[in-house]
Amino acid sequence: MSELTPPSSSPPAATPGAPVARSVDEIKRDPLVSTAVSRVDDAILDAKEFAGEITLFADRDRIVEVARAFKDSGFVYLVDLAGVDYSKYPNHTGLRFSVSYTLYSFQKNGRVRLRVWTDEKGAVPSVTSVWKTANWHERETYDMFGITFSGHPNLERILMWEGFNGFPLRKDFPIRGVDTGARIYPEVFPEGGGPKAGSTGKPAADVNVYKGEWKRYGTWPAAQIGGGGNGAKAPAKPAAKAITTEDADV
C-alpha cells in the first residue's frame, strides 16, 4: 500500500503550469480583473490563484455591488454559482459556507471566480438583479445547502420537493438520506413515524429506514441496518431466503 501512496507533501511539484504564487495585490492588479477591482477595491478581502484561475473573496454584504462592477467591466456572463459546505474541511476556521460565482468575459476570454463566506443565519444578497440566470442557481444552492439569498424573487426548493426536511449537500446530511415519509404523507404515517416494519409487509432489515451514519463508502448498507454486524459478516438469512411472489412487488 505504501508503494502506491504518492509522497504527500509535494503538491506544488504536481502543477508545472502554475507560476510562482503571486501576492494578493499582484493578483488584484492582473489585467483580467484590475478594472473591476479598482472600483470595489475595499470589498475584495482576499485573493488566491490556483491552476491559473483567479479567485477573489468578496465582502458578503457588498456582493451585488462587486458583481455589478465585474459585469460593467466585461464579465457579462455568469457561468456558474455553487455553494460549498466547509464544516468538515481540514483545519477550516471561520464561517461554514462559501458561495462561488464563476464569471466569464467575452472580450477578455477569461474566467474569474468570486467567493463569499456565509453561515446558516446570514443571508447572501441575491445577484438576480445583475444576472437573470442566477435565479435557478441560487434556488439550487438554497435547496441543497439552506443558504438564503435576500432579495431573491422566488426562493423556493427546486430539485427537492416542497416540504422536504433537510439540506442534502450539507456535510452532516447522511448519504443514505433521511426518512421524510411522515412529513410528506401525514395522513398515512403518524407524527414522528415513517415507514415501519410491518407497514410494507417486509421484515425491518429490508425496510429502507435510516439508522445512524453510514460510516464508509464501500460497505453494503444492509449489513448496518437491522442492528447487524460491522459489514464484514453479512447476515446469511436474508441472502438464503427464496424470493416469493409477495416480495416481488417492492
Binding site: L4, T5, P6, S8, P11, P12, A14, T15, P16, G17, A18, F50, A51, E53, T55, V76, Y77, L78, V79, D80, A82, V84, D85, Y89, P90, S100, T102, F106, N109, R111, R113, W131, K132, T133, N135, W136, H137, M144, R157, I158, L159, M160, W161, P168, L169, F173, I175, G177, Y217
Partner: protein
C-alpha cells in the same frame, strides 16, 4: 359578453414531448401561453453528493448518467477537470487525445441525431425519426466495438483512455463518415425547405443575443442567436487547435435557426472525424495514458473547467482538500439546466403547441437538469 378566464394547466411530467419528466405549469388564456413555470427535480439522484463519497476514478461512470444521450462528453468534462486539478493537462498522449476527440464528436453527432428525431416527431414530422436512427445505430455500434457499451460508455480515464482502438475500427469510422454527409442532405431534404416545418419553427421562441447571455444560455441556442461562441474554439482543449472546423451561427435566434445550426454542426463534426483518421494512424499504438500515481490525491485547491458538450457548456467545479482521494465538493454546471431556465421567456405569447417545439429546440435531457 364573453367572460375571459385564465386557466392553469399541467404540462407533463408524463407527456412524451417533455423528453423525460419535465413538468411545466402553464397559465393559458385559451390556447395562448400567459406564463410558464418549469418544475424540475423528478429525476434528482444526488449525483453531486455521491461524488463526495467516492474516489475520483469511481465518479466517471456516474457522469454517464447525467446526460445519458451524450455520455462521452460528460466523461471528458470530468476527467479533464481532474487532470487540471492534478496539473497534467499537457501530458495526455496524442493518441489518447485523438481517441477522446473522435468519441466526443461521434457522441455529438449521435446526440444531435436523437435531438432531430424527437424534435421533428414532436412537431409532427415522423419520417426523420426513422432516418436519423439508422445512422445513430451505426454510431452506437462503433461505441460498442470500442468499449462494449452503447449508451453509458464510461470510455475515458483520468490521464487518458482505457483501451486502444479495436482492429478495423478506423475503417468503420471511415466508411461511416464518408456516407454521413449524404445522410444529412437526406434529413435536410425532408425538413429545411418544408413549408409545414418552417411554419412551425420560423419566428418561434426568438431570443436576442443580449437576452441569451443574460440567461446564461450556451451551445447551439446561443449560436442560433448569432453569437459565435464555441468552447472548442475559444478555450481549446485536447487537440482541437490542430483541427479545422467552422462554428456555425444563426441570425434570428428562433427555433428554425437553432435547427440549422445543429445541422451544420453535425457536418462539422463529421469533418473533424475525417481529419482525425489520418492523424491517429501517425501516432504510436498503445500510448494511451499519462503517467499518474495509482492513488489519485490532488493538491488542495479548486478548479472550474468546462467543455463544449452537444447541449452547451458543461462545466465541473471541484474543490479538493488535498488530504483525501475524494472530491470535497464537485458541482456540475449542466447546460440543459441553465438553458431550460429561459423557457418561460421564450414561451410567453406563443401557443401551447409551440411549447412542444420550444422544449425540443432547447434540447434538454432531464437526467442532466436534475442530476
Amino acid at each position: 359578453m364573453f367572460d375571459v378566464h385564465e386557466m392553469e394547466v399541467n404540462f407533463g411530467p408524463q407527456h412524451p414531448s417533455t423528453h423525460g419528466v419535465l413538468r411545466v405549469l402553464l397559465r393559458v388564456d385559451g390556447e395562448r401561453i400567459v406564463d410558464a413555470k418549469p418544475i424540475i427535480g423528478y429525476l434528482h439522484r444526488g449525483t453531486e453528493k455521491l461524488f463526495e463519497h467516492m474516489a475520483y476514478p469511481q465518479c466517471v461512470p456516474h457522469t454517464d448518467r447525467m446526460d445519458y444521450v451524450a455520455s462521452a462528453t460528460n466523461n471528458l468534462g470530468f476527467v479533464e477537470t481532474v487532470e487540471k486539478l492534478l496539473g497534467i493537462s499537457k501530458n495526455i498522449p496524442k493518441r489518447a487525445q485523438l481517441i477522446r476527440v473522435m468519441l466526443s464528436e461521434l457522441q455529438r453527432i449521435s446526440s444531435h441525431l436523437l435531438w432531430l428525431a424527437t424534435h421533428a416527431i414532436d412537431i409532427g414530422a415522423m419520417t426523420p425519426f426513422f432516418y436519423t436512427f439508422r445512422e445513430r445505430e451505426q454510431i452506437l455500434d462503433l461505441f460498442e466495438a470500442y468499449c462494449g457499451a452503447r449508451l453509458t460508455l464510461n470510455c475515458m480515464r483520468i490521464g487518458g483512455v482505457p483501451e486502444d482502438l479495436p482492429y478495423g475500427w478506423l475503417d468503420d469510422v471511415d466508411e461511416f463518415t464518408s456516407k454521413f454527409e449524404a445522410a444529412v442532405d437526406e434529413y435536410e431534404s425532408l425538413l429545411t425547405n418544408n413549408r409545414i416545418w418552417k411554419k412551425r419553427t420560423v419566428g418561434i421562441g426568438v431570443l436576442s443575443p443580449e437576452d441569451a447571455i443574460e440567461w446564461g444560455i450556451t451551445g447551439p441556442p446561443l449560436r442560433g442567436c448569432g453569437v459565435e461562441w464555441d468552447l472548442r474554439r475559444k478555450q481549446p482543449y485536447e487537440c482541437y487547435p490542430e483541427l479545422e472546423f467552422d462554428v456555425p451561427v444563426g441570425k434570428n435566434g428562433d427555433t428554425y435557426d437553432r435547427y440549422l445550426v445543429r445541422m451544420v454542426e453535425m457536418r462539422q463534426s463529421n469533418r473533424i472525424l475525417r481529419q482525425c483518421i489520418p492523424l491517429i494512424k501517425e501516432t504510436p499504438e498503445g500510448d494511451l495514458k499519462a503517467k499518474i500515481s495509482k492513488v489519485i490525491r490532488p493538491p488542495e485547491g479548486e478548479v472550474y473547467h468546462s467543455i463544449e458538450s452537444p447541449k452547451g457548456e458543461l462545466g465541473y467545479y471541484i474543490v479538493s482538500d488535498g488530504k483525501t482521494q475524494n472530491a470535497y465538493r464537485c458541482h456540475v454546471r449542466p447546460p440543459s439546466f441553465v438553458n431550460l431556465q429561459a423557457l418561460p421567456a421564450m414561451a410567453k405569447g406563443h401557443l401551447v403547441s409551440d411549447l412542444v417545439a420550444l422544449i425540443g429546440t432547447i434540447d434538454i435531457v432531464l437526467g442532466e437538469v436534475d442530476r
